[in-house]
């Protein structure tokens, strides 16, 4: 008695079973077709769904530390953290990554054009990179991972020589357009008539205690070197840690220490077209000299931010950048600076390290929050400094 529906159907049929079945299957084709379509649609509807496309992961130029900027013609280069070099042909980008061989992953600190299509970049671990194709591709020319100390600046060519310098008085010189580099320890003549500098007291709260304790009496040669330029009279000026101010009249063979004008560090030195020299550094300190460095006067700076980078614009005006995304400019040869731009920041720190003046009152800046084009205010519309810097 255990009959299925189909068997019942089969018995009810009059015609031979096989042909009946065949023809019935054909006769029911709309139902079969419909069923097949539904199942097919289900297979498609429930098959794995791809996630909607997202922009590919690339370096975002506003989200990485950029430490150096350089320009030659329309080509703009920028050095960034972990050994990345960015290339653009317009200030607003697009930026692309240059090829670096080999990729060491050391953070770069500064970049400069030192000849036609010839550029140098320096960074951590005494890394020096050289490009001969306008910054498209870079090859390593110096690297010292064992010492693991940063180069912090590159300058030249001054009389055919290129200089790379950095932490603890490290100085490298090249005479072949940067292909080979040799160590050139600083030979510093102390300021006449001053006793050797006193060692700093060993103070647990003082992070420099460790450094100064080792360097002993005259520690000038062990200080970090941050910037170099050539004055109108051909003298080289080198500035650095704890007020270090050196002058050389013989292409860097010997350096004459200058009387101390400031205890804090200098991070940059600029030679203006009108023969003025400007040095700048910690906590809003800048000094200018109208007599090629014989005498210095303190500039008026409206913010207490440390100033890490500077440049001279096409009209010979110095532009300085530093902490709290501050951009300062002086329209009177460095005597007075005013706050020309200050952007909100989003992280714990927002220092600017480098600046490239652009036409039309703009400047390209680089720092903790990457590369940005900033509109500079006129002195009449100078911004009021806010002590904390952060603005909503």
């Amino acid at each position: 008695m255990n009959h299925s529906l189909d068997e019942v159907a089969g018995r009810a049929a009059v015609a031979p079973l096989a042909s009946r079945r065949e023809s019935a299957a054909v006769r029911a084709w709309p139902a079969w077709l419909f069923a097949a379509l539904v199942l097919g649609a289900a297979g498609y509807a429930f098959s794995p769904r791809s996630i909607p496309p997202f922009p590919p992961s690339v370096l975002h130029t506003d989200r990485l530390l950029v430490t150096g900027l350089a320009r030659s013609g329309s080509r703009i280069l920028a050095t960034a953290e972990l050994g990345h070099i960015l290339v653009a042909d317009r200030p607003h980008g697009p930026w692309r990554e240059a090829r670096v061989e080999p990729e060491r992953g050391s953070t770069l600190t500064r970049i400069a054009f030192v000849g036609p299509r010839l550029a140098l970049a320096v960074g951590q671990d005494s890394w020096i990179l050289r490009s001969t194709d306008d910054g498209q591709s870079w090859r390593e020319v110096h690297f010292d991972p064992a010492r693991s100390e940063p180069l912090l600046g590159v300058a030249g060519p001054y009389d055919g020589k290129l200089y790379a310098f950095g932490s603890f008085g490290q100085m490298l010189v090249s005479s072949d357009e940067g292909q080979t580099w040799t160590e050139a320890p600083l030979d510093i003549l102390p300021v006449a008539g001053t006793p050797p500098a006193k060692p700093q007291p060993a103070d647990a709260d003082n992070p420099f205690a460790a450094f100064s304790a080792n360097s002993g009496g005259n520690d000038l040669a062990g200080r970090h070197l941050y910037a170099m330029t050539r004055a109108a009279d051909g003298a080289l000026w080198l500035v650095g840690e704890r007020g270090l101010l050196l002058r050389s009249d013989d292409g860097g063979a010997r350096w004459q220490a200058q009387p101390t004008i400031y205890q804090g560090s200098f991070y940059g030195v600029l030679a203006l077209p009108d023969r003025t020299l400007v040095v700048f550094g910690m906590r809003g300190h800048a000094y200018y000299s109208r007599d090629l460095g014989k005498s210095w006067r303190e500039s008026e700076v409206p913010v207490p931010d440390s100033l890490f980078g500077g440049a001279v614009d096409a009209r010979g005006r110095p532009i300085l950048v530093g902490d709290d995304n501050s951009v300062l400019r002086s329209d009177d040869g460095g005597a007075h600076f005013f706050l020309a731009a200050q952007a909100a920041h989003h992280g714990l720190v927002a220092g600017l390290a480098a600046v490239l003046p652009l036409p039309d009152g703009e400047a390209l800046t680089a720092g903790d929050e990457g590369i940005a084009v900033r509109k500079l205010a006129d002195p009449s519309a100078a911004l009021v400094a806010t002590p904390t810097g952060a603005q909503p």
Binding site: A9, A12, A25, F46, S57, V58, R63, P207
Partner: protein, 858 residues
């Protein structure tokens, strides 16, 4: 008679013959479960919500003790008065709020941060080095000089956007909750209740104008009557008597539970109340509190659904007795189930609280079929007892099969590897299986005692109204091949559209804020308030780097920290990532701070000596690494927690991990709330196909066994498949993502929706086989006998779950909407598409008598 029918017949004989002792037995069982049901506990818990076996969650569990995981609490204090936060009133309130947070039970006291905690430092770099001090000076008394000092320090600390709002009109307290007593429903409930009470009090402390002091009216534990052991800022109103207060005894030790009924309350003015203060609280515990508040509404919906069902039942039967019996029988499995839960160690959680509804709805649906059949027999002249026996015989097979498919629907939900869903599946499965006893056995016994009212008899035997007859005829025309083609046409058009739409379905959330709650809920407003005034989001994914076999501190090994450094930079380039916090990033800041804060020094040196300058960044106190950096976590704040964003970020991280192997270092996904979501979404995605295949496969098999016909299987399954596609399309177009709450809907909808098809087809098959009717005639007959009951049950069930759409809980509203849709449209599928398919599968030859039924099988 088929053997199975003989078995059914014998069971019916036994059931009716022994109905008195059986009734007594069932009454005893009911009494037992009723007693047991009083012991059921609420069992929330963070760990129940996560797919614990997923590799991401294993990572999270491995480091739950070291890193905060995802159970964070953020308390935001906003100053709505003039000026900014640097005033005495605000600072005092913030200090008190910090203390309040500190004393939340289970809080990790080493990781509470606010302006008033000692880990909030500022660093000032000077020519002589740098000095770092707490932002708020010791012995702070909020003098104007001190306030100016704090304002200055906050600026230097870099905390603006982190624990001080960008507009400096609010400040944040962050804390992590350590879940203790996980896995024990009773203790977990107490723990979360205490946390939630404290959170409500923190809010009330500054927002409530009144303070409530409770006095004991009798001795409880170590507390004497007349003492005032409890103070609070929450007005419980009439709910106080149901509230339990947990108070640590004076001598220390476990907190004592004081029932609200033992306390009398007195309202006093709240000295800390300030109309210029607003408190925002977000975090899992607060979310849980709001979800539980929302669940109170569930009972209102239950009542509503119950009343609506009762009214509909009466309108349908015109018999108070049948209505009462059907409702009682539908409530029985609910009671049995709740009674069963404590026995198997389960509690009620925000998901499984919905099961009783579902069981009730399904119970009503089956009771209607049974009472309907009984009523027909009675009207045809049978005695109550005989009618009950016949109704049982007729419905035992299709009813049990339908209930088994329901159970199957719930069982496959367990393929989603998340404890809360497991429990939902088990609970629901048990409930449905209990229903086989209550509906198929208790109901017939009850019916034997029932005498149908004459009114109802007249109502049932009255000639069919013209409208109704016309409606049934119209429906029956679907069983004619020509009309069937139209039905196919309409369905195919719908199918094409919905299939296209359904591809837009996303796994995970598609909005912002807490997906459990509605966008305008207090919690989500708080979430938006916090997200919009700070730079860091509330959505964080954490990746843990294990570096176990390095000598000394792993963070002083360049390959380790360099990998983190690269990872940090890579992530900052990934779309959907808002910001990143890593030991490498902090290490670079510390090293640069030692070098006068110069950005050119923000790099990690290769030597151990060089790295040790930054060792302050590798302090486990910062919460980013364990002792000696054996494990290091990188916190990735994402733009939102939409499913697609999470999937993209996780895919990119996996790509990074694959392309950056470093010996001795393993990067492991994932912790943080986004980590949990990523794991959940992956578990849901992995379960989707498995679940669908399992449910449809099992249903097809069950139908095949029951009907012994392949075409019958197609008739039942094809409409269900189509409705499932519709459901996906509906979700995609309403922006409802596929997630823990909505994934079970398809399985539930299919498991329950198949009932209609089974009940109808079983009748059709009977009529065709026993009476030799054509398919169209058999369908008309089936509709006459069972169609109205099917339509009725679909409508009542849809209304029952439809009430959920009013819920304050978004997931419940979504589930209600989708389930109601599934129930209704599956019913339509069964009465329109099933006959259309059958019309062609069982199409009679022109001029032939009996139909060549199912000739096209195989």
């Amino acid at each position: 008679m088929r053997p199975i029918e003989r078995v059914v017949d014998r069971i019916s004989g036994f059931l009716i013959g022994r109905r008195h002792p059986l009734a007594l037995l069932f009454a005893l069982v009911t009494a037992f479960f009723a007693w047991s049901a009083t012991r059921v506990a609420l069992d929330p818990g963070f760990l129940k919500l996560i797919p614990v076996r997923h590799p991401y969650m294993r990572t999270m569990m491995d480091y739950l003790k070291d890193f905060s995981g995802a159970n964070t609490i953020l308390v935001n204090l906003r100053w709505t008065g003039p000026g900014d936060i640097y005033n005495k009133e605000f600072m005092t309130a913030l200090q008190k709020a910090t203390d309040d947070v500190f004393f939340i039970p289970g809080i990790d006291r080493t990781h509470v941060s606010s302006l008033f905690t000692p880990d909030t430092w500022y660093i000032e770099i000077t020519e002589d080095g740098f000095k770092g001090e707490p932002v708020v000076p010791a012995r702070f008394t909020a003098t104007p000089e001190e306030l100016a000092r704090v304002r200055h320090n906050v600026g230097l600390s870099g905390q603006i956007g982190l624990i001080v709002a960008n507009d400096q009109k609010a400040a944040l307290i962050r804390a992590n909750l350590q879940e203790v007593d996980t896995g024990d429903p009773a203790k977990a409930e107490v723990f979360y209740r205490r946390v939630m009470t404290r959170l409500a009090d923190i809010r009330g402390h500054f927002e409530s104008p009144k303070k409530y002091v409770y006095t004991l009216t009798r001795d409880v534990g170590p507390f004497k009557a007349g003492t005032q052991p409890v103070e609070g800022y929450t007005d419980y109103g009439w709910m106080r008597r149901f509230q339990t207060f947990y108070v640590p005894p004076p001598g220390g030790g476990a907190a004592v539970a004081i029932p609200g009924s033992a306390l009398k309350v007195k309202a006093e003015p709240n000295p800390d109340y300030n109309p210029h203060l607003e408190v925002n609280i977000i975090g899992f515990a607060q979310l849980l509190a709001d979800v539980i508040d929302g669940l109170v509404g569930v009972f209102a919906f239950f009542l509503l659904a119950f009343v609506v069902t009762a009214v509909l039942l009466y309108a349908y039967t015109r018999s108070l007795r049948i209505t009462a019996v059907a409702l009682v029988v539908a409530l029985l499995p609910v009671l049995w189930l709740i009674g069963l839960l404590p026995l198997i160690g389960f509690g009620i959680d925000p998901m499984s609280i919905l099961v009783p509804f579902l069981i009730f709805s399904i119970g009503v649906s089956h009771a209607v079929q049974m009472t309907n059949a009984w009523r027909m027999e009675v009207c045809a002249g049978a005695s109550s007892i005989e009618a009950a026996r016949r109704a049982f015989c007729k419905l035992f097979i299709p009813g049990s099969v339908a209930l088994l498919t329901n159970a199957l629907g719930f069982a496959v939900i367990m393929l989603i590897d998340i404890p809360i869903v497991h429990e939902l599946g088990i609970t629901a499965c048990l409930g449905v299986l209990l229903m086989i006893v209550t509906n198929k056995m208790i109901l017939p016994i009850l019916l034997t005692h029932l005498r149908l009212e004459d009114r109802s008899r007249r109502f049932a035997t009255r000639p069919e109204s013209r409208l109704r007859a016309a409606l049934w005829r119209a429906v029956a025309r679907c069983a004619e091949p020509r009309c069937a083609l139209y039905a196919f046409g309409v369905c195919l058009v719908l199918l094409a559209g919905t299939t296209f739409l359904s591809r837009g379905l996303v796994i995970g959330d598609s909005g912002t804020g807490a997906p459990e709650l509605r966008p305008d809920s207090r919690y989500n407003r708080d979430d938006r308030a916090i997200a919009s005034s700070y730079n860091i989001g509330t959505d964080v994914l954490s990746v843990i780097a294990e570096a176990k076999n390095f000598q000394g501190d792993s963070c002083l090994h360049y390959p380790v920290v360099h990998l983190i450094d690269q990872f940090d930079l890579f992530l900052r380039g990934v779309a959907g990532v808002h910001s990143v916090t890593s030991v490498a990033g902090i290490g670079r800041l510390v090293i640069s701070a030692f070098n006068e804060g110069n950005p050119r020094w923000r790099a990690l040196p290769r030597t151990e000596d060089g790295l040790s300058v930054g060792s302050r960044a590798f302090d486990p106190q910062l919460g980013l690494n364990t002792e000696s950096c054996r494990a290091i976590q990188t916190l990735i704040f994402t733009d939102n927690h939409e499913g697609a964003t999470i999937a993209h970020v996780v895919a990119e991280i996996k790509r990074f991990i694959a392309t950056h192997p470093v010996e001795g270092v393993t990067l492991r996904l994932a912790s943080g709330n986004v980590g949990v979501m990523a794991a959940t979404n992956e578990a849901v995605g992995a379960a989707e196909d498995k679940m669908l295949l399992a449910i449809f496969g099992a249903l097809a098999l069950l139908c095949l066994i029951t009907f012994r016909s392949v075409t019958a299987v197609f008739c039942v399954i094809v409409p269900l498949t189509m409705v499932s596609i519709f459901c996906n399309a509906l979700m995609a177009s309403l922006g409802i993502g596929l997630k823990v709450a909505t994934l079970p809907v398809v399985a539930l909808g299919v498991g329950v929706g198949v009932d209609y098809g089974i009940y109808l087809f079983e009748r059709i098959q009977h009529e065709m086989r026993d009476r030799g009717l054509t398919f169209a005639e058999a369908f008309h007959e089936a509709m006459r006998q069972r169609g109205s009951a099917a339509v009725f049950t679909a409508v009542t069930m849809a209304i029952g779950v439809g009430t959920w759409t009013l819920s304050a809980l978004k997931y419940q509203a979504d589930m209600g909407l989708l389930l109601s849709f599934m129930f209704l449209v599956n019913m339509l599928g069964a009465i329109c598409l099933l006959p259309a398919l059958g019309a062609w599968f069982y199409r009679p030859r022109a001029g032939e008598g009996p139909a060549p039924v199912a000739a096209a099988a195989q």
